[in-house]
Symmetry: C2
Subunit: 512 residues, 2 copies
C-alpha cells in the first residue's frame, strides 16, 4: 500500500500492526473512546523506595512497555541509571516508549537492543550511534516514530499502553508531588511527562531532592504516583539546557532568519494578537530577535508564543511583547528557571500542546510556525528524520504538529556543504507538503502553489525574491550535481507515523 | 442485608443497583480499571455558543446524566439557568449528578422532579424544600448520597458516567481555558469541578467573562472543553462566599472550640509539621483562632491545612504558621481571592483531596480533622444527613473522607434546643464510628474506647473532663427525656454510600 504522499508502505507490517496509510492533514471530528489506566489503590505508605533495583523488581516484567521523558536533554542521568539496572537484571522483550531519545542515551539503548532487553521502540527520534545501529537493522521490530502530539494521542487512545513510566524530576515529596521548575536540576516544563503521569498504569518518580510534604506547585500529583526513588543525581545541571543562548553569527543563517522575519511581517497574520512558534537553535533565536524589532516598530504584540521555549522568548514576555508563553518544554536554563517567577509562562502538557484527538490543541490556534528541515522536496514534503545517506539522525518533535499552523515556514539553507537540502524527493517524508506554506532559503523563498493568497502577499517584497520550489531544487542540483541514489534493503526498520496515527512513510535498512 | 454498622439495607434495591453493604473503613489496595471519557475531537472552531438553549439542544438527550458543581454556593445562577432551559424543553428521566445541591437550587430541582425531568439524583447532600420533598417520596428512584472523595472515585471508575457537565466559571477564553480564582464572581478553587472536566464525555463551560486567548492559569484546560456559553451573570458575588467570616460569640460554641483545641494540643499529633482540617462555620473559625495561639505559644508550625478553606486559615499561611493550604473549595471571598496571590495556597481536585481509590489522597496524610454532627451515637457513628425528624437536611461533604484522619474530633453540643445530639442510635449513619476518635461537647469529651492511646494522652487534662459516650448520651436523655421513635414507611428514598462505594445506611420515606 501507499501513503497519500506516494510512499510505498510494507503491507505485511502495516496489516500486522493494524496501521492505515496517511491520507490527509485533516483529522476530522471523530468520537474517540479514551483508554484509562489501571490504578493500584494505596494510601501512599511505603511509596519511597530505597533503590532503583527494588522498584524495578516490584514493577517491571518481561514484555512490558516502559517510558521516560527527555526534559533533562543532554544532562539526563535517569534513563541510563534505570536502564542499567534493567539490562543487568536480564529483562526481555521490553518496548521503550520515551518522549524522545537524546544522545546521552545511545550507548545504553544499543546495548539493550543487542542483549534482547529491548525489542520495540517508539520515540520522537534518535541520532548518533543508535540511529546508525537501527538503520543497519539492529532492532528486532520497526521503530514507530511519533510527533509529540501524536504520542499524546497514542497514549490517550491506548495505541501506546505504558506499563511503567520512570519520570525523573528535580524535586518531589514522599508522596510524589513534583514539578520540573525548582531545584538544581530544574528543566522547567514537564510537558511531555505529564501525559505519562496521567496514563501509565504505574508511575515511578526518580529524584535527588525529596522535599517536605506537601510539595507545591505539583505539576505531577501524588494521586498519579506509585513510587518515589531517591538517587544521588538526576542530571547534570550544566547540560540540561543548552546553556547561554547564542545568537548566530553565520551570515547565511542570519540572511535566512531575516527573510523568515520578512515573510512573517509581510504575511496577513502579522497583526496584533498573532501567535508563533520558533523552536530552538541559533537561527531560531535570530528570528526571535528580528521579530522583536518588527513588533516594536509596528506596535504589534503577540497573544502567545508556543512550544519549546528559549530565554529570548521569555524576554519578550517580560517586555510585554507577548501575552503568554505556552511552554511544553524549555531549551535553556533561562527559560526553565523563569517558569516559577512568570505567571504568564504557563506549563502545558503534550496533549494540550498538540494532540489532534482532543477538543482543541494550542497548535490549532497557531498563526506562524518556523520549522527546520534536513530535506524538503518539490512537493514541499519535509524530512527531519533521515540523513541524505538514509541513516536515522533526527526527531519529529513537534514538526508535524506545528506545521498545521496557518503560516508554516520551513527555514533551511539551499545546500549544506556538499548536500542539497531542496531535493526532488525527500529520503523520508515526515511532514506532508500539504501543511507547509513557505520555504525560506538564503537565495530566496518558495511558496506552496496551493497558497495563492500568500503569492499575492509576498510576491513583491524587496529583498525577498520568490522562486518556484522546482527552481530552487534545480539551483541546488546545478551547484552539487545529481547524487547517486541511496541503496536500501527491503527490510523496514522504522515507520513514520503522522500525528493522526496513520503511517506516512517507512525507513528501510541501509545497504552496506 | 445489613451494613457492618447494623443498618438494614433494602435487598431488592441493593441487588438491582449492584451495591454491597459497608464492611470496613479500610479500603485496601485493589487494582482498579479506571473509566475514560469518549472525546469528540475538534480543533475548537465554534466552541462559543450563543445560548444555553442551543448548547443544550446540541448535547442533552433523555436519560442522560448531567452534572454541576456547587462552588458558587448560595450565589449560584448557573444551575437554575441551565435547568430552566432543560425543564422547559421537556427532557425526561435525567440523572442529576452535581457535587452538591445548595439551597438556591431547591425549587428548580423540586419542579424538575415533579415534571419527570429528573428521576435520579446523586449528590453530597440536600436541604430545605428539596430534602423535605425527597424525604416524602417525591423522587422516583433513591438518591445516592456520596462524599466528595466518594464522588471522585465513582466518576473515575465509571459508577457515575457523566454525559454532560455544565460548569460555571468566573472566566474563560473562547477555547475553554478557565479558572475559578479571577473575576467578579471568583469562588477560588475549582476542586470538585476538575473531576467533571476530566471525566465527562461533554464539558460545557458557562461564563459571564470571556477573556483573550489564551486565558491562564487554566485550572480547566481547552483540551477538556467542548462548548463555552456566555450568559449575563454566573453568580451573585455577594452570596458566593459567606462574606466576612465571623468569630462565634455563643459561649457554648466557644467552650466547645476551646476544648477541641485542648484535645488537639494535648494529643500526640500536635507537633511541628502536623496537619489539620477544620471546615467552615463560626465554631470552626473559633477553633482556628485558639489553635493559632497554641501554635505560637508552643513554637509549632503546621505543614498543611486541608479541605474547604476560610480566610482565617489563609491568614495562618501568610503568617507562616502553616506551610501550605491545600484547597479543594473556598468558603469565603477572602480565601477565594487570595488563591491567585498566595503560591502556598494550592488548588487541589476532589480526587487528590479525598479519593480512596487513587495512589494516595491528601486525607491519607491528615493528622487532625475537626468535624460536625447532627447526631452521634454511643458507637460513635455520626449522622450529618437526616434531622431528628428523619428528614434529609444535610450533606456528607468531606465528612467520611476527613474522618480517616489520625485524630478525628467530632465537635457538637450535647443538645440543640429540645433535641439531643448524643443519642443511643443515630437516625442515619453517614460516618462509621470506627473512624471517629473523640467527641467534644460543652460538658466534656468522650474518647472512642478503641483509642486507648488517646485515653492515656487526654485522660487528665484540666478543663477537659472525660466521660464515656454512654454517660454523655444518658446526660442528654436526662435533660430532654426519651423521644418518640420516628415513623417511616418501608420505602427507601436514599442510600448513603460510604466513600469506598459500599452502602452504609438507607433513608426511608417519612410517614405523614
Amino acid at each position: 500500500m501507499e501513503s497519500k504522499v506516494g510512499r510505498q508502505l510494507p503491507d505485511d507490517i502495516m496489516n500486522e500492526l493494524g496501521f492505515k496509510p496517511y491520507e490527509t492533514t485533516d483529522f476530522g471530528d471523530p468520537v474517540i473512546q479514551r483508554k484509562a489506566p489501571k490504578v493500584h489503590a494505596s494510601t501512599g505508605e511505603g511509596k519511597v523506595v530505597d533503590s532503583l533495583e527494588e522498584v524495578i523488581r516490584k514493577t517491571v516484567r518481561d514484555g512490558m512497555t516502559i517510558s521516560f521523558h527527555h526534559h533533562f536533554r543532554g544532562g539526563d542521568y535517569v534513563f541510563n541509571k534505570v536502564m542499567r539496572v534493567i539490562i543487568d537484571a536480564g529483562y526481555r522483550d521490553l518496548t521503550l516508549a520515551p518522549s524522545s531519545l537524546t544522545g546521552v542515551m545511545n550507548d545504553t539503548v544499543v546495548e539493550a537492543i543487542k542483549k534482547g532487553v529491548v525489542t520495540n521502540i517508539t520515540s520522537s527520534g534518535m541520532r548518533g550511534s543508535l540511529g546508525d545501529a537501527v538503520s543497519h537493522g539492529l532492532l528486532k521490530n520497526p521503530v514507530i516514530f511519533r510527533s509529540h502530539g501524536g504520542r499524546a494521542r497514542a497514549i490517550e487512545n491506548g495505541d501506546i499502553n505504558i506499563d511503567v513510566a520512570f519520570l525523573g524530576v528535580p524535586n518531589s515529596d514522599e508522596m510524589g508531588n513534583a514539578n520540573g521548575m525548582e531545584g538544581k536540576s530544574a528543566f522547567g516544563s514537564l510537558g511531555y511527562a505529564l501525559v505519562d503521569a496521567a496514563y501509565a498504569d504505574t508511575v515511578v518518580l526518580v529524584t535527588d531532592d525529596i522535599r517536605p510534604y506537601p510539595n507545591t506547585p505539583a505539576s505531577i500529583k501524588q494521586s498519579q504516583v506509585d513510587y518515589v526513588v531517591k538517587v544521588d543525581e538526576v542530571g547534570d545541571p550544566d547540560k540540561i539546557g543548552s546553556g547561554a543562548t547564542r545568537f548566530t553569527k553565520d551570515p547565511k543563517e542570519l540572511k535566512i532568519a531575516k527573510s523568515v522575519n520578512g515573510v512573517i511581517v509581510n504575511s496577513p497574520y502579522f497583526k496584533d494578537g498573532f501567535s508563533f512558534q520558533t523552536g530552538s537553535g541559533g537561527a531560531a533565536l535570530a528570528v526571535t530577535r528580528f521579530l522583536r524589532q518588527s513588533m516594536i516598530d509596528n506596535g504589534i504584540k503577540a497573544s502567545f508564543a508556543l512550544g519549546g521555549i528559549t530565554k529570548p522568548t521569555v524576554d519578550l514576555l517580560e517586555e510585554g511583547l507577548i501575552g503568554k508563553v505556552m511552554d511544553v518544554q524549555d531549551f535553556d536554563k533561562g527559560a526553565a528557571t523563569s517558569m516559577r517567577q512568570n505567571p504568564g509562562q504557563q506549563e502545558i502538557d503534550a496533549s494540550w500542546y498538540a494532540d489532534p484527538a482532543n477538543k482543541g490543541a494550542m497548535v490549532d490556534k497557531l498563526d506562524v510556525a518556523i520549522l527546520s528541515a534536513l530535506e524538503i522536496d518539490t512537493d514541499f514534503n519535509v524530512n527531519v528524520m533521515a540523513g541524505s545517506d538514509g541513516v536515522i539522525r533526527g526527531a519529529i518533535g513537534g514538526h508535524q504538529d506545528a506545521a498545521t499552523a496557518k503560516l508554516t515556514i520551513i527555514s533551511a539553507p539551499l545546500v549544506r556543504g556538499r548536500i542539497a537540502t531542496v531535493v526532488p524527493k525527500v529520503t523520508t517524508v515526515v511532514t506532508p507538503g500539504d501543511s507547509v506554506d513557505v520555504l525560506v532559503t538564503e537565495v530566496g523563498i518558495a511558496i506552496n502553489p496551493k497558497r495563492q493568497d500568500l503569492m499575492q502577499a509576498l510576491g513583491n517584497i524587496p529583498g525577498l525574491p520568490v522562486y518556484t520550489i522546482q527552481q530552487l531544487q534545480e539551483r541546488a542540483e546545478k551547484m552539487l550535481g545529481t547524487p547517486e541514489p541511496l541503496k536500501f534493503t527491503d527490510r523496514t526498520v522504522a515507520l513514520i507515523e503522522y500525528r493522526d496515527g496513520t503511517i506516512i512513510d517507512q525507513i528501510r535498512q541501509v545497504a552496506e
